[in-house]
């Protein structure tokens, strides 16, 4: 009986770690392939972007969330629906700019960095930069050009992990070339 129960929790643990372990292996590989941290950060962002432009469709298909009317709604959906669905956490939303075009996502704990320790030789590495690319790619597909970047990172000794999201502009629908 208890062996069955053990099996169940082990399965769950392994399943949730598959992504984070794979991610970790990827980051390590990229650090080997590229000379400096900046290049790795760029790669992670680019890969994240490619994931984001597809992930958004999976998100829309499963969550039934409609079009967001403003950036506040977008923030809510990102934190309360998307992060919850994909990473099982609900970051808090804080530090709105007065114009309402910037906010911060505060992650008390970042599932990607469980068991990760950043070596001194990689002090400029933004380990979880994939997330920024994902957010950027996903939002671009719903017509929002945004910038996402880490401003605090528990891996670097900060108390929390903070992603700053900035709304750049709305991407308008364009009639395909050739139409009148």
């Amino acid at each position: 009986m208890s062996r069955q129960a053990n099996r169940g929790t082990e399965s769950k643990k392994m399943s949730s770690e598959l992504f984070t372990l794979t991610y970790g292996a990827l980051v390590t590989q990229l650090c080997k392939d590229y000379e400096n941290d900046e290049d790795v950060n760029k790669q992670l962002d680019r890969m994240g972007y490619n994931i984001g432009v597809r992930l958004i469709e999976d998100f829309l298909a499963r969550s039934n969330v409609g079009r967001c009317h403003d950036f506040r709604e977008t923030a809510d959906v990102i934190a309360k629906v998307a992060f919850k669905m994909y990473l099982g956490i609900t970051p808090s939303i804080t530090n709105w700019s007065p114009a309402g075009d910037e906010f911060s996502l505060i992650l008390e704990n970042n599932p990607l960095v469980d068991f990760v320790e950043l070596p001194d030789s990689h002090s400029s590495l933004i380990y979880s930069n994939l997330l920024c690319g994902v957010l950027r790619g996903a939002l671009e597909m719903v017509q929002m050009a945004v910038e996402a970047k880490f401003v605090q990172d528990t891996l670097k000794g900060d108390g929390v992990t903070e992603i700053r999201m900035r709304f750049i502009r709305r991407i308008e629908d364009n009639l395909p070339a050739g139409e009148e």
């Binding site: 099996r7 399943s15 992504f19 372990l21 794979t22 890969m47 490619n50 597809r54």
Partner: protein
């Protein structure tokens, strides 16, 4: 708890990123990329294996270890069990998955199987866990594109077995989507 979809998307992106057919590099370039994917899988398989409590690791029988892969590991990774396990009782096992989740979206039947970059020449730098992908490329056989999507998993199986105390050679092939087959040959030290 990371959603399974995240792993699928990450895996796809990794394959796209790390396996870029390079016409100039010749056969060497492609093999290296595949072994990178296998290597990543191996490390992840090892780590997954190390998460297990000690008693589960005390597999005395090979077959137990393989059954573990087919049931527990597969369920944890792909939310299903392996569909078939056969063995010749002499250290060779064939694991059959009739509907492998990483291939399931690609099709059923023979579409996409025609795309087969041909490679010849022996594998130069053997990864910790050489795979059939390496060997078949070495013998000049064409390998269908979906096979690339099995490299990571081959490495993972190899890595998990390594933690369980077994050295192995893991190979994979696709006959008709979305079914695939993993062949595990336990190395006697």
């Amino acid at each position: 708890m990371a959603d399974a979809v995240l792993f699928e998307f990450l895996h796809t992106e990794m394959v796209t990123e790390l396996w870029a057919p390079d016409p100039d590099a010749g056969s060497g370039g492609k093999k290296k990329s595949l072994s990178v994917l296998e290597g990543l899988g191996f490390r992840v398989g090892q780590a997954l294996g190390e998460r297990l409590p000690r008693e589960t690791l005390a597999f005395r029988e090979e077959l137990d270890a393989l059954k573990f892969l087919c049931k527990d590991l597969w369920a944890a990774m792909f939310q299903k069990h392996m569909d078939g396990l056969r063995t010749n009782h002499q250290g060779t096992y064939v694991l059959q998955d009739n509907s492998f989740p990483l291939l399931v979206t690609m099709g059923s039947g023979s579409q996409y199987l025609e795309e087969a970059p041909k490679v010849s020449g022996m594998v130069q730098d053997m990864p910790i866990c050489p795979t059939l992908l390496g060997l078949s490329w070495g013998s000049g056989l064409a390998s269908p594109l979906p096979t690339v999507f099995l490299a990571f998993t081959c490495g993972l199986l190899c890595g998990a077995l390594h933690t369980l105390g077994f050295q192995s050679l893991v190979t994979a092939s696709v006959a008709a989507l979305p079914a695939c087959r993993f062949q595990v040959v336990i190395q006697k030290s």
